[in-house]
């Protein structure tokens, strides 16, 4: 029999289930993700740093853990909450079970809880902090949770960003389709698939830490800069916003997710926290320019306030679900800025065209 585990939320509600993964205690912001596949990508996505993630899909781990679907080198979530985890995964690529993986990565999990009930709670009451433990009573756990820092109070980007700059050299199969533009990626907590896609399009990709200055970025003479996704509250990342401001107008910039929020701040706009965020692979977004609807992968707990944007910036993409800003453009500046994840992994691959838009800008500037 598995050990008992407890998930206690900050409002005092507690859920008893079975422990799996590592026998450690953990806490974080509890969020749900509605994707039905892609748990390995989610677990290794640095944007989930500081969070306890709960897939709404009840059976998790069916195809095990494989060597390819890593979005960073390790598990980034703080804890994993599932209805059922598979102890008998099956896939030709599978090397480990979910349990083995989490255990090796020192991350705790809880299973056999009513994840739908928890989702409904978070949906109606908003995202909450939570603690995942195998020790003591719910009351004791809640007490411990109260002494811990809240999500957003910590600079998570600093924790997940690369320590030093590196060139992305991982060989990708397939054609290199475009010219070898030099793209510098500011790593706020990036997913490898962004690098794979850029490299796949022929770009030469340089990844730099989140804290490098605009001048340092420009020193490498990039043809374009990409501000990556990442965890936490963008409003607190003054040093990144400053860098972005320093880059605006000097080079085409693509901002994805956190990168997009940073661009909004750099332009003088602001962000706010969503009640329970957008996390999943089924979010419809309208591209205002083409009036077309695209299904997107999303993972954001904050959003850009459209009313805060300067008059030369406008909303380019809107969520059909709740009207949230999902992208913006600028009348004078070469930016592609999207809240959702055009790099997919996990999620639908319908939005690769945004990278092409960016590279077109790069090409225009290059030709000019």
């Amino acid at each position: 029999m598995a050990d008992k585990a407890l998930l206690v939320l900050e409002d005092g509600s507690s859920y008893e289930g079975e422990a799996f993964g590592a026998a450690v205690e953990s806490y974080g912001e509890v969020v749900f993700n509605t994707g039905m596949t892609g748990y390995q990508e989610v677990l290794t996505d640095p944007s989930y740093a500081g969070q306890i993630v709960m897939p709404t899909y009840p059976m998790v781990g069916n195809y095990g853990i494989n060597p390819e679907d890593f979005e960073s080198e390790k598990v980034q979530v703080r804890g994993f909450v599932v209805r059922q985890h598979s102890t008998t995964p099956s896939h030709w690529q599978a090397g480990q079970t979910l349990h083995e993986f989490l255990e090796a990565q020192r991350i705790p999990g809880i299973s056999e809880v009513d994840t739908r009930a928890i989702t409904r709670k978070l949906r109606s009451q908003g995202t909450m902090m939570g603690i995942l433990t195998r020790e003591g009573s719910p009351e004791e756990a809640l007490e411990r949770l109260k002494g811990l820092p809240r999500y957003g109070e910590v600079d998570l980007v600093k924790q997940v960003s690369t320590e030093r700059a590196y060139e992305w050299t991982e060989e990708e199969p397939g054609l290199k389709t475009g010219p070898p533009y030099r793209i510098t990626v500011l790593d706020l907590g990036l997913k490898r698939n962004i690098l794979r896609i850029l490299a796949g399009k022929g770009c030469r990709v340089l990844v730099v830490p989140a804290w490098v200055s605009a001048e340092a970025v420009m020193a490498a003479e990039p043809d374009g800069v990409l501000l990556s996704p990442g965890p936490g509250d963008p409003a607190t990342l003054e040093y990144v916003i400053r860098t972005a401001r320093g880059l605006l107008g000097r080079v085409p910039i693509m901002g994805i997710c956190m990168g997009h929020q940073i661009l909004a701040h750099a332009l003088g706009g602001s962000t706010y926290k969503l009640k329970f965020g957008h996390r999943g692979g089924n979010h419809p977004v309208r591209d205002v320019e083409t009036d077309r609807v695209h299904i997107t992968a999303q993972n954001h707990g904050y959003a850009v306030d459209p009313d805060s944007l300067p008059s030369d910036a406008s909303v380019s993409h809107v969520s059909l679900n709740d009207g949230a800003v999902e992208g913006m453009r600028h009348a004078g500046l070469p930016i592609v800025s999207i809240q959702y994840h055009s790099e997919a992994a996990p999620g639908p691959r319908d939005n690769g065209y945004m990278f092409d838009r960016f590279l077109e800008m790069v090409s225009d500037m290059h030709g000019a």
Binding site: T34, S90, D114, G280, N282, H294, R349, D350
Partner: protein, 1092 residues
């Protein structure tokens, strides 16, 4: 695009294997969607047992044959602006293509909506499809098309075996198959070419064992695309998706694979240019190294096919996700964009999104082999299931077990094993058998029970180990239940894995009721969760629930007046779509009367399980445990604090619902209308006999016997022929007519075996007219809308007989007696609700003393209810439901007694799916075999009959050859028929005895040997070579069906899809119709016009 003002919707015709109730669901949704958009819908379908042909659904309803001629006349008259070809299954799609090709659409300026002719061709023509996929870089397996056997053989030699043959423009894999040997290949190729309407087959590299994955994709006119869901077939490639156990969403695909196939689906729907819904099927390599040493990179896939229309899979996907594909497709077809269509479930979001599931859906097909024990039970690329069940739960194990409970397969739980598996021994890899068949699931469980390793089974079957290991977990728990004592923890674990109280009881040695009590004591009760398309991300407006053993319950009891309607479960022979029709109308009548309807059903194909049909839907097995759990979940307390359950309607869901009456009554549940007591009276032979005797109503004489001697005595007493049948079996099972003592001995033995200890009934076989009525009784008055007379004499199951309204040959006195008996029975039973009574009328001497016998009384709605309701315009179910609510017939404004005849004639004809069921004998008898029905309606009998035959595919050509093989017993009676055939100029072919008789009449007939080994051309040759165009073959006696003379004749006719009559009555009707004066034409009118 301007919205068309009037749109023609083509239905899918009769229920056949491969095309069942899902198209009624799709068509009904589409018509409702059109109405919402202010578009007038004109509907044509030949199947009266459908909701879509209700006058409240489409604006203008035609129940006419689905032929180019009939539909052309409809178009001529209605002048629709558009045609929706994608909602009537393969039938509707093919008919639309024919209309276009005949120039009809052009002539009347009818635009094909949603999917253009070009698109249909590109998707359905196997060659064009391959070319298109090659152009967009999507992989298809190596293949070539052939249009004749010679070409096929050349291709076969070139490609090498094994190969798969797939005919173009067919459905349910009709005519296709996998060939491992050259003989098989030649046979399958020939069959496939014959089955394809354009004589085209694709011969393809075999991908047997690859994963089979389907995607449901939608696209609108602005090129926005979404996928509604994907589905994984547990049975890998080689088993038709319709015959596979299917899960949604996929379980063993990584996100990479999921998205790869999703992107491919979208690319394909774009290339095809479908505006609406479409189903894409893929084969995905389970492993980098696949069979036959061909090493491919991992993640290899091939596109198998695309259906550019709504399908069985799209109905399943709709029910699995809550996303109404047909409704959205209809709106797209008239120009709406996905982001302009609201999501009816959440009310907040739009149709441009992809559903997120937070549960697992399992579909299991329902096969007809409980009926056709002699049929070939292996399954392959050609579909054999008549229906399916779906179950929802939070894990695969639990959903699978619920689906098994929903099958109603003679009480087969997951514990079931074929007695032979216990008795006999065989090689490990084939005993218990795990090859593809209707019992493979149980074979796998049995093999695991005997210790076979899951990896080993996976390697042998190609089923992904993930599924087999889930089955292994069930076996592990099963063993714990056997060995450990039942603790709260163990019981909870078992319930969470989906074990029924009954299975737990069997294993842990308790009665099911005791397990239930334990559950209550330990507070282990199910909660109900919502299917909301969005995994709880938004609050759902639609009350669509499933049970699971977790903590939070989302289904608060419905308040105010309410009632539960028990549905009819999977479509099977004997219990078809008619009962869904009745369930839906019952729910609607409740709503009309201000009573909130709660539907319980397990069939994903139906209108009843559409979330907006009823106030609340529970998608759950229709067994005692689930129904009681649901009723208890709906328990409220009245002012005095007494618990109150919603009353249950058990009269509309066929035998499924009726069978629940007893258990529910014992559990103290209230009923709406008559419940268990009336059923008991009607089904207990002794009680019923006494009851009729008391009323002075005659019944065929007979008796119940326990041995051969008693049987002989009874037969002597009442006189041969006699009808022998086991008691306590359903649907005329194992029922036989014995003409002499020899027959009797044989059948008695068989029946005693089937009866399992219960006595066998031996009744006088009365060769009279069979007549039936449906009636509503409120306990004081009885409304009989009309009398239906069978064309075949008694002895052909009422579900397989052609029948005509109003009766054509009954005398006034006979009709009067039928009305009187019906009323007396209903009133004496104190019956409230809908009942069906079957009679036999014998020829009598005295016109004032008609000889009318009551055959049986079904105190429930019957198969004929939709038919009689439609032709008379009297909404029986609606009236009956209101009666059950306490509104008397008088209050509802209905007279008592037999309603006056309408000025129309309607003929209902059965439709069989025999070409799909190898090894099954097709002769008509007291055991039902048909899967569906059609109706022909006209101002007179001739027109109605002609249309019914046409719609059922039973029309004889006006000239041609007829093969006769008539049992000695029937020869005298066949004389007028033969004379008529000869007189009409048909070439006659006959087997020896029959030929002699024909020649004695002074007519000529070619003699054809009956035995296949007695030279050529034999009976099968003349059929296969096309010399004959119809077969009349009556059977010479009972016995093990395939051994009967003529089996080969009948099968050959079925395989060539030519009319084959095994009853002289049907043959006579068909010949009369074929030889009628050609100037007597049928009419084409909307249904209500005929009634005027």
């Amino acid at each position: 695009m301007a919205k068309p003002s009037k749109v023609l919707v083509i239905g899918s015709g009769p229920i056949v294997i491969g095309q069942a109730a899902e198209f009624d669901y799709a068509g009904a949704q589409a018509c409702k969607a059109l109405r919402e958009e202010g578009v007038t819908s004109v509907l044509v379908n030949s199947n009266p047992a459908t909701i879509m042909t209700d006058e409240g659904i489409a604006d203008i309803v035609y129940i006419e044959p689905l032929t180019v001629e009939a539909v052309t006349r409809i178009i001529e008259r209605e002048r629709p602006k558009g045609l929706l070809p994608t909602l009537g299954g393969q039938t509707g799609l093919n008919l639309a293509v024919e209309l276009a090709e005949a120039g009809v659409l052009k002539k009347y300026k009818v635009k094909m909506l949603g999917t253009s002719l070009e698109t249909i061709r590109r998707a359905e023509d196997r060659q064009l499809f391959k070319t298109m996929l090659a152009e967009i870089g999507e992989p298809t397996p190596e293949s070539a098309t052939a249009t004749n056997l010679k070409e096929a053989e050349e291709i076969g030699r070139l490609m090498g075996l094994p190969l798969v043959v797939r005919p173009a423009y067919t459905l349910g894999g009709t005519g296709g198959g996998i060939a491992e040997s050259w003989e098989e290949f030649v046979e399958v190729a020939a069959g496939g070419i014959a089955a394809s309407p354009i004589d085209q087959v694709l011969i393809e590299r075999s991908l047997v064992g690859w994963k089979e994955i389907e995607y449901e994709v939608m696209r609108d006119g602005a090129d926005n695309c979404i996928t509604v869901c994907n589905m994984e077939n547990m049975d890998p490639m080689g088993v038709h998706t319709g015959d596979s156990i299917v899960v949604a969403p996929s379980q063993t695909l990584s996100d990479h694979e999921y998205q790869m196939l999703r992107s491919a689906s979208i690319k394909i729907i774009r290339a095809l240019g479908v505006e609406g819904g479409c189903n894409v099927q893929f084969a995905l390599a389970p492993h980098p190294v696949v069979a036959k040493g061909a090493i491919t990179a991992g993640r290899d896939y091939f596109v198998i096919e695309v259906n550019p229309r709504v399908s069985r899979s799209s109905a399943l996907a709709s029910k699995a996700t809550g996303y109404p594909i047909a409704r959205v497709a209809a709106k797209i077809a008239i120009g709406k964009r996905l982001d302009q269509i609201p999501n009816a479930v959440t009310g907040e979001t739009v149709a441009a999104f992809e559903p997120a599931l937070d549960y697992c859906v399992v579909k299991i097909p329902r096969w007809p082999f409980d009926k056709f024990a002699d049929g070939d039970r292996t399954i392959g690329t050609q579909m054999k299931a008549t229906g399916e069940v779906m179950a929802i739960d939070r894990t695969f194990e639990a959903a699978l077990q619920k689906a098994v409970r929903s099958l109603e397969n003679g009480g087969r739980s997951i514990l079931w094993e074929d007695p032979r598996w216990l008795k006999e021994e065989g090689p490990v890899e084939s005993w218990p058998p795990v090859h593809p068949s209707d019992f493979r699931l149980w074979g796998l469980l049995a093999a695991l029970r005997r210790g076979r390793g899951p990896e080993d089974l996976a390697a042998q079957t190609g089923i992904d180990p993930w599924f087999i290991k889930a089955l292994e977990r069930l076996i592990t728990l099963e063993k714990r239940l056997l060995s450990e004592s039942l603790s709260p923890e163990l019981l909870r674990e078992a319930k969470r894995m989906g074990f029924s109280d009954e299975s737990i009881g069997t294993l842990a040695d308790w009665l099911p009721e005791q397990v239930r009590d334990l559950r209550k004591r330990w507070e282990i009760t199910p909660v109900f969760k919502t299917v909301d398309t969005c995994a709880a991300e938004f609050s759902a407006q639609t009350p669509y629930f499933y049970s699971t053993y977790e903590t939070e319950n989302e289904a608060e009891p419905v308040t105010g007046p309410r009632a539960a309607v028990l549905g009819s479960g999977p479509i099977r022979i004997g219990q078809g779509i008619e009962f869904d029709y009745c369930s839906v109308h019952a729910a609607w009548a409740l709503e009309e009367a201000g009573v909130k309807s709660i539907m319980i059903n397990s069939n994903p194909e139906t209108v009843s399980t559409d979330f907006d049909t009823t106030h609340r839907l529970y998608f759950e097995p229709l067994d005692e445990e689930s129904v009681r759990d649901i009723l208890e979940n709906e328990q409220v307390f009245d002012e005095s604090g007494a618990p109150e359950l919603p009353p249950a309607c058990v009269q509309f869901g066929g035998q499924t619902a009726v069978n629940l009456a007893g258990p529910l009554a014992r559990a103290g549940a209230p009923f709406l209308g008559s419940g268990a007591e009336a059923l008991d009276l009607a089904e207990d032979r002794g009680r019923f006999e006494d009851f009729l005797t008391r009323l002075g109503i005659p019944q065929p004489p007979g008796g119940a016997v326990n041995n051969l001697r008693d049987g002989r005595n009874v037969a002597e007493l009442i006189g041969y022929p006699v009808l022998v049948r086991p008691s306590y079996v359903l649907g005329g099972r194992a029922m036989e007519i014995a003409y002499d003592e020899e027959d009797l001995a044989r059948f008695l033995e068989l029946a005693m075996e089937a009866s399992g200890g219960h006595p066998v009934l031996v009744d006088k076989y009365m060769q009279g007219k069979e007549v039936e009525v449906d009636a509503v009784s409120d306990g004081e008055r009885v409304l009989i809308p009309g009398i239906m007379e069978h064309i075949e004499r008694a002895g052909v199951h009422s579900g397989d007989a052609m029948c005509v309204y109003p009766s054509q040959t009954l005398t006034g006195a006979e009709a009067e007696a039928i009305g009187r008996y019906t009323q007396r029975i209903a009133l004496e039973m104190g019956f409230k609700g809908l009942m069906n009574v079957q009679f036999i009328v014998m020829p009598g001497e005295d016109p004032w003393a008609p000889l009318v016998y009551v055959l049986e009384v079904n105190p429930r709605s019957s198969r004929t209810v939709p038919f009689i309701s439609k032709v008379t315009g009297i909404p029986l179910v609606n009236i009956a439901t209101k009666v059950m609510l306490g509104h008397s017939l008088e209050e509802q404004g209905h007279n008592s007694g037999l309603a006056p005849n309408r000025p129309l004639v309607a003929v209902k004809a059965p439709v069989f799916s025999m070409s799909k069921l190898a090894g099954v004998d097709t002769f008509l008898g007291p055991e039902m075999k048909s899967t569906g029905e059609v109706m022909g309606v006209d101002a007179n009998f001739t027109g109605a009959l002609a249309k019914a035959l046409l719609a059922a595919g039973m029309t004889l050509p006006a000239v041609g050859g007829i093969l006769l093989s008539i049992a000695d017993r029937d020869k005298p009676e066949a004389v007028p028929l033969i004379k008529m055939l000869a007189g009409a100029g048909y070439r006659l072919y006959a087997t020896e005895g029959t030929a002699a008789m024909v020649q004695d009449l002074g007519l000529s007939a070619s003699v054809i040997p009956k035995k296949l080994q007695e030279g050529h051309p034999n009976v099968v040759d003349v059929i296969q070579e096309g010399a004959v165009h119809g077969v009349i073959n009556t059977i010479s006696g009972g016995g093990k069906a395939p051994l009967r003379d003529g089996f080969h004749i009948r099968r050959a006719a079925v395989e060539r899809r030519m009319p084959c009559f095994t009853s002289l009555d049907t043959a006579m009707a068909a010949v009369r119709s074929a030889t009628r004066d050609a100037s007597v034409d049928y009419q084409i009118r909307p249904l209500p016009e005929y009634r005027r």
